[in-house]
């Protein structure tokens, strides 16, 4: 019988968690060195960043809003990874999710409540099918999912741009579509806060006023629910058992009577749906529209880093998504406040991923530190 307390200690001390923590620390350290070389005080810069993330309730909310889509694209990549597939296509699946959410949010008119559900389901279904294409190509023709999903990303991007240009969808004199109807949004008290009554009420409650200045929405709750759903599917269902066994050893899975090809398609579809959910919630909660994209926005690619930092765990993705969101939101503030280059944030994030990708080095480092302690 294992002592529960011991096993938690083990998890913190020796497993991936330790590597993650050390990597984050090293990432921040490298960022500090770069700042120092560039002639800025690292302490001051990180101070500004921290203040910019936690200084006001509004800031914290912005961090969460920034983190929400990253958590979900992270979940998408992590889910595929747990089942032995590398989903580079979260980017494209995100675009499809956002596009379909906007189409259904604008062209379909439904009552409050129902409309949100219909938009969401339509978007994740479309993105799921989009992801499923890569799974199908792999199962049927042996096309590697990395190649297929990279191609599908570009197809999604140009499909998005094409659809927005269509008559009746593009808002005149803009590079974007029409906005979705209010019934399709998930903002919290979005209408009320601009009413006369709302304005007066918020004035007396300054903290809430600060909070409601942001596009506060239900996205993060959906993201956390989805994280739980991912964990549950993977660990508590026969479907998850099938997908994981195909991911770890498809030969044994095949021998055990599991349909390996079907599993690949299902897995990529679920991964696609998760990234599509990110796109849909971004439209429903924040942007309300889709715009013509000159280049990839990077939500899907950041998702790869989020999944890596979260060790491909469902809840790991929630935390690493928040970390990423914080850096993305708080980081650029050093530019306006001190003139320090905000690119430092990218260096920090890149370094964290870099160190996580070399666990052996971190283990060596930890063992050196421990040896010194003993001496």
């Amino acid at each position: 019988m294992k002592n529960k307390k011991n096993s938690i200690k083990e998890m913190l001390g020796s497993g991936n968690f330790m590597i993650t923590l050390v990597s984050i620390f090293l990432g921040i350290l490298v960022g500090a060195i770069v700042l120092k070389i560039a002639g800025y005080s690292p302490l001051e810069s990180y101070g500004v960043m921290l203040k910019g993330i936690f200084g006001k309730p509004k800031y914290i909310l912005y961090t969460i809003i920034y983190a929400t889509p990253l958590i979900m694209t992270g979940l998408s990549v992590a889910f595929a990874f747990k089942t032995g597939l590398f989903n580079i296509g979260a980017e494209g699946q995100f675009i499809i999710g956002a596009l379909v959410a906007t189409l259904v949010g604008y062209f379909v008119k439904l009552p409050m409540g129902i409309h949100v559900v219909v938009v969401f389901v339509a978007a994740i279904t479309a993105a799921g099918l989009w992801g499923g294409i890569a799974g199908y190509l792999k199962a049927k023709f042996g096309v590697h999912e990395v190649i297929a999903t990279i191609m599908l990303n570009w197809i999604a991007l140009y499909l998005n741009n094409y659809v927005i240009m269509l008559e009746g969808f593009k808002r005149p004199n803009s590079e974007a579509s029409y906005k979705i109807w209010d019934t399709a949004t998930i903002g919290i008290l979005e209408k009320w806060k601009y009413t006369a009554h709302g304005r007066v009420w918020l004035k007396v409650h300054p903290i809430l006023q600060s909070i409601f200045k942001t596009p506060v929405n239900l996205g993060i709750i959906c993201a956390i629910i989805l994280a739980f759903v991912v964990w549950f599917i993977l660990n508590r269902t026969t479907l998850g058992y099938e997908l994981r066994s195909v991911g770890s050893n498809k030969y044994a899975a095949e021998y055990g009577g599991i349909n390996v090809k079907k599993s690949m398609i299902v897995s990529m579809s679920i991964a696609g749906a998760l990234a599509g959910a990110a796109g849909a919630l971004q439209v429903m909660g924040v942007s309300k529209q889709v715009s013509i994209l000159a280049a990839m926005e990077g939500y899907g690619f950041d998702g790869i880093a989020v999944a890596l930092i979260g060790s491909n765990g469902a809840f790991g993705c929630v935390f690493s998504g928040l970390l990423f969101g914080a850096l993305k939101y708080g980081g650029p503030k050093i530019q306006s406040a001190m003139g320090a280059p905000s690119e430092v944030v990218s260096i920090v994030m890149g370094t964290i991923v870099f160190f996580i990708a070399m666990p052996k080095f971190i283990r060596l480092l930890v063992s050196l530190v421990k040896r010194k302690e003993v001496k």
């Binding site: 026969t238 058992y241 050893n249 021998y255 009577g257």
Partner: protein
């Protein structure tokens, strides 16, 4: 002074102890090997043989102890130092670059070049040929590794070590993957090498081979050195008892039985291999209830394709397979499992287990979708856990921890997990493919007993093995497979090794079927 020739000591390992965390892999082991000697290391799986050799080869550092090569103390900090000291190691799993040629593999890391760093392949080839003639290690220097047999690949590994000037050769389980003929060739090669003064340390748990080639044998059990014996004055039984620590029964005990109804019937089966050639070529076979039918044959005569065909992992070109009068030709693996066929697969790590899954997860690999393990798609963790614990007890799987990853188990215990799972399916037909490959005597005894028990419950057992001894000991009837056909079926007690060997080589006799 008398004039007894004092043999030169090539390797001396003194008081070697190696501790990993709380686990002592080697405890105070002393090993001395002289020039021109073959020294066997005998022990069960996980006894610490490979650890000891990895220490000699510089892959691990001993916690305590000293290594002397040719009388001088050497600190084996890494394999490069070991190589410089004339030590070569041939691992159980070969480390060759498949698309490279034999010569390219041998010179890898020690290439001969002309000016401007251009590879001098001709020079290398002639060097390789010189070596292979000297020791009788014949290989085609221009053949690609992916195109040559396992036995040939092993020769390449040995040549690789010799090319680097090895005087001391460590062979880790060298015969595990070889056919009987290849084993004989290897023995000849070993004799050639020792004649030239090289010394050889061979890790094995095959007693017969130790008797055949080794001069001395050191027996290790649970990390401790039990004894070092002169092989010429000891018996196989004695070696086995020392290795396992108790009396080992070599003869499989089984009562006479009359066979029952036909359970599996294969008719004129044709199956292609990966290259598109008919590996199983018009094979017909019947397996009855209450019998163990052994299939003997040299590796590569269609055994693998036959098994994969029966259990639905490989496409059947033509012919018919019936299980208890039900046609199962071309069915999915799941449907075939449900027709009460269970399999102990040939490659337990590739097919039999998901190594990164826990033992309990592996226990339900074929039944995860059935009650009580799941209901409406939701797994019942408690039931799975209870089931796994029960099987661990019943089949004596060690360590007794169902949450451990299958990867962490020894080969014998991994096999027990598979046997536990397959037998719990209560199959009408059990297919056992190479069920004792790489297992030690104790585990082999256990596997054989399980097969006989299955037969005694009036179930059918199909045993496919490359080990002729195993087929002869365990099976009731023996079918010999040659070039994808059954060339003869004989009663196990009415045949002998020579007759079977002749049939296996294609010189068929016995009742043609």
């Amino acid at each position: 002074m008398n004039h007894i020739k004092v043999e030169e000591k090539a390797v001396e390992m003194k008081n070697i102890t190696k501790v990993f965390g709380n686990f002592t892999a080697n405890e105070d082991i002393n090993l001395t090997v002289h020039k021109g000697e073959v020294h066997a290391l005998l022990g069960e799986n996980g006894a610490g043989k490979t650890t000891l050799m990895n220490i000699l080869y510089g892959l691990y550092q001993p916690t305590i102890g000293e290594i002397m090569i040719n009388g001088k103390t050497v600190i084996m900090a890494d394999p490069n130092i070991a190589i410089q000291n004339g030590i070569g190691m041939v691992h159980q799993h070969f480390m060759l670059v498949e698309p490279f040629t034999v010569t390219e593999n041998i010179i890898l890391g020690k290439e001969t070049t002309t000016s401007f760093g251009k590879l001098d392949i001709e020079e290398a080839v002639s060097h390789v040929q010189e070596l292979s003639e000297k020791y009788g290690l014949y290989v085609d220097p221009y053949a690609k590794i992916q195109d040559i047999t396992v036995g040939m690949q092993q020769r390449v590994e040995i040549l690789k070590a010799l090319y680097r000037g090895a005087e001391i050769l460590i062979l880790d389980e060298p015969t595990a993957v070889l056919t009987p003929q290849e084993i004989q060739d290897l023995i000849d090669i070993i004799r050639n090498l020792t004649k030239q003064g090289k010394c050889i340390i061979i890790i094995t748990h095959k007693l017969k081979e130790i008797k055949q080639i080794a001069d001395y044998c050191t027996i290790i059990r649970r990390g401790k050195q039990i004894d070092t014996v002169d092989v010429s004055v000891t018996t196989e039984e004695e070696l086995a008892n020392k290795m396992v620590g108790r009396e080992v029964n070599f003869i499989v005990g089984k009562e006479e039985r009359t066979k029952g109804e036909v359970v599996l019937e294969i008719d004129n089966l044709v199956i292609k291999d990966n290259r598109g050639i008919n590996a199983v070529d018009g094979l017909s076979l019947k397996v009855h209830a209450g019998e163990i039918l052994g299939i003997a044959g040299i590796d590569g005569n269609g055994q693998r394709e036959l098994i994969e065909g029966i259990i639905g992992l490989r496409k059947i070109e033509s012919g018919k397979i019936c299980m208890i009068q039900k046609d199962i030709t071309g069915r999915t693996p799941k449907e075939i499992l449900e027709s009460k066929i269970s399999t102990i697969p040939e490659d337990r790590q590739k097919r039999g287990l998901v190594l990164d899954f826990s033992v309990e997860e592996n226990m339900i690999l074929e039944n995860y979708y059935k009650e009580p393990f799941s209901r409406k798609g939701i797994l019942n963790k408690n039931k799975i856990n209870y089931f796994a614990k029960e099987l661990i007890q019943k089949f004596d799987i060690r360590p007794e921890d169902e949450t451990l990853k299958a990867r962490a188990l020894s080969g014998g215990n991994q096999q027990k997990v598979i046997i536990a799972r397959e037998l719990t399916n209560d199959p009408e037909l059990l297919i056992a493919a190479q069920p004792t490959r790489g297992l030690d005597v104790g585990a082999i005894e256990y596997v054989h007993k399980s097969l006989v028990e299955q037969r005694d419950k009036n179930k059918a057992v199909l045993l496919i093995s490359l080990e002729l001894d195993e087929v002869m000991n365990v099976a009731d009837r023996i079918a010999v497979i040659y070039e994808g056909k059954i060339v003869g079926i004989v009663e196990a007690k009415e045949t002998n090794e020579n007759a079977l060997g002749l049939m296996m080589a294609g010189g068929g006799s016995g009742n043609e079927k």
